[in-house]
């Protein structure tokens, strides 16, 4: 009844700031980033990336309450840089990393099915005559580990009959 709307989890309210930054009163060169409408997905990767930074002395996050949709990330650096700078570096580095993962994944798709992984395949997809699927149907046998999982598929939930 008084449950918050589900979209509150990811929709930034009008006028709210995505990130609120406050100075830590007790630690030098330390900021607390209050990141609205984010969760462990973002906070954990930032925390980890920051810890790998040579100028970062402290980095940790918390999600204070499951019904309050923000995370707090505390970052302390040496005096040679600032928490905001290392945050920007961490963000850049992570964006590059996900780009690299996607490129590596696309290369693998290309290896599996050279004609299908040129990046334009989704746009070029012809509408399928039937509702679902179509497109890539890669043979997996040549890669050693055959797909024993997929071979047992075909009994998905839409076969479930309603039992009156």
């Amino acid at each position: 009844m008084n449950a918050p709307e589900r979209f509150e989890m990811f929709l930034l309210p009008d006028g709210a700031r995505k990130i609120e930054i406050t100075k830590d009163p007790k630690m030098p060169n330390c900021l607390l980033f209050k990141i609205q409408r984010e969760d462990h997905t973002i906070a954990n990767i930032l925390r980890y990336k920051l810890l790998k930074h040579p100028q970062v002395l402290f980095s940790a996050y918390r999600a204070p309450h499951p019904l309050e949709y923000y995370v707090e990330l505390k970052v302390q650096t040496t005096s040679r840089t600032t928490p905001i700078n290392v945050m920007l570096e961490a963000i850049q580095s992570l964006m590059l990393e996900y780009g690299n993962i996607r490129s590596a994944f696309d290369n693998e798709l290309f290896r599996l099915e050279p004609t299908a992984a040129d990046g334009s395949r989704r746009a070029a997809r012809a509408p399928s005559t039937y509702g679902g699927f179509g497109s890539i149907d890669a043979s997996v046998s040549e890669f050693g580990i055959s797909s024993d999982i997929s071979s047992t598929r075909g009994d998905r939930a839409d076969d479930v009959d309603i039992d009156f």
Binding site: E108, L109, Y130, S150
Partner: protein
């Protein structure tokens, strides 16, 4: 944002796809961190947008199932969502309620006139958009059963499918399951197995254990070791291809990071407040 120049670097993440079919992609992600691999898993499950029925208007329902029950079943029907990127979220759209920019209409009008049982399938939904239709596995697949009727019963509904993410409701999840494993031999001791007599006898190894060596039990424990190799199996419900889910998840993560970067840049230059994030995709 494209980091392709760095692929091939010693430190760049590596991917090896072990199998790929219509609903599953099994791959090994290596040279990255647990937090990155886990964020990918979380986003594939909950933040890759798809289309799903979100509003249902009932004109007639004389079946044995209540309106709410049928509306819920309609919401859970997987819809082919390869064109989801062409749609706006209704909340970002300029229309008052819904329009073709942000939604797809479905109609279903079935009346049972025969004496036997009339089974209504998801394939009987008539879509206003040829690219967004109920997922069917084969050409003769009739889809999921919505309701069964007896003679004289009737169902007449008008449905609106919208773009959404599973964070709001799991009906928008493209994934049936995402299998995720690392360190199959438990070399890092992240797991503390419960056992009666022997861990080895009571906890069988997964097939991923073939890919890694077991740590020499006599060697001193490496407390600084971190996991670097992650085994995924992404199983979809058919609304997106499994490989599409993986690539879209990397984009969603980049968009999220881009939003943070923008927010930090604004904070650095308070005068640039005019440049407000309107929630549009960033990349």
């Amino acid at each position: 944002m494209n980091g392709s120049a760095h692929v091939g670097d010693q430190n760049a993440p590596r991917v090896r796809i072990r199998s790929l079919d219509k609903t599953n992609v099994d791959f090994v992600l290596s040279n990255t961190s647990l937090s990155v691999a886990n964020s990918l898993r979380r986003v594939m499950i909950a933040e890759v947008p798809t289309m799903a029925i979100d509003l249902v208007e009932f004109y007639e329902n004389t079946t044995v199932l209540a309106d709410e029950y049928i509306a819920h079943r309609l919401g859970l029907i997987p819809l082919v969502s390869h064109t989801v990127d062409k749609f706006k979220y209704t909340r970002d759209c300029t229309c008052a309620e819904y329009c073709k920019e942000c939604s797809v209409e479905f109609t279903l009008h079935i009346k049972c006139t025969e004496s036997g049982t009339r089974t209504v399938y998801s394939s009987e939904l008539i879509s206003s958009n040829k690219d967004v239709v109920p997922v069917l596995e084969t050409e003769d697949d009739r889809g999921a059963i919505l309701v069964k009727m007896r003679k004289g019963q009737e169902l007449n509904v008008h449905c609106i499918a919208k773009k959404g993410v599973a964070k709001e409701h799991s009906k928008w999840s493209p994934c049936a399951a995402v299998a995720f494993e690392y360190d199959p031999h438990n070399n890092l001791r992240h797991l503390d197995y419960w056992y009666e007599k022997s861990i080895k006898d009571e906890w069988p190894l997964s097939k991923n254990a073939l890919e890694e060596q077991e740590r020499d039990p006599s060697a001193p424990f490496d407390y600084k070791a971190e996991p670097t190799t992650f085994y995924f199996n992404v199983e979809t419900i058919g609304c997106l291809d499994p490989q599409e889910v993986v690539t879209k998840a990397t984009r969603v993560l980049q968009e999220k990071l881009g939003g943070l970067q923008l927010a930090l840049d604004e904070d650095q230059a308070p005068d640039a407040a005019a440049n407000v994030d309107d929630g549009e995709p960033w990349v």
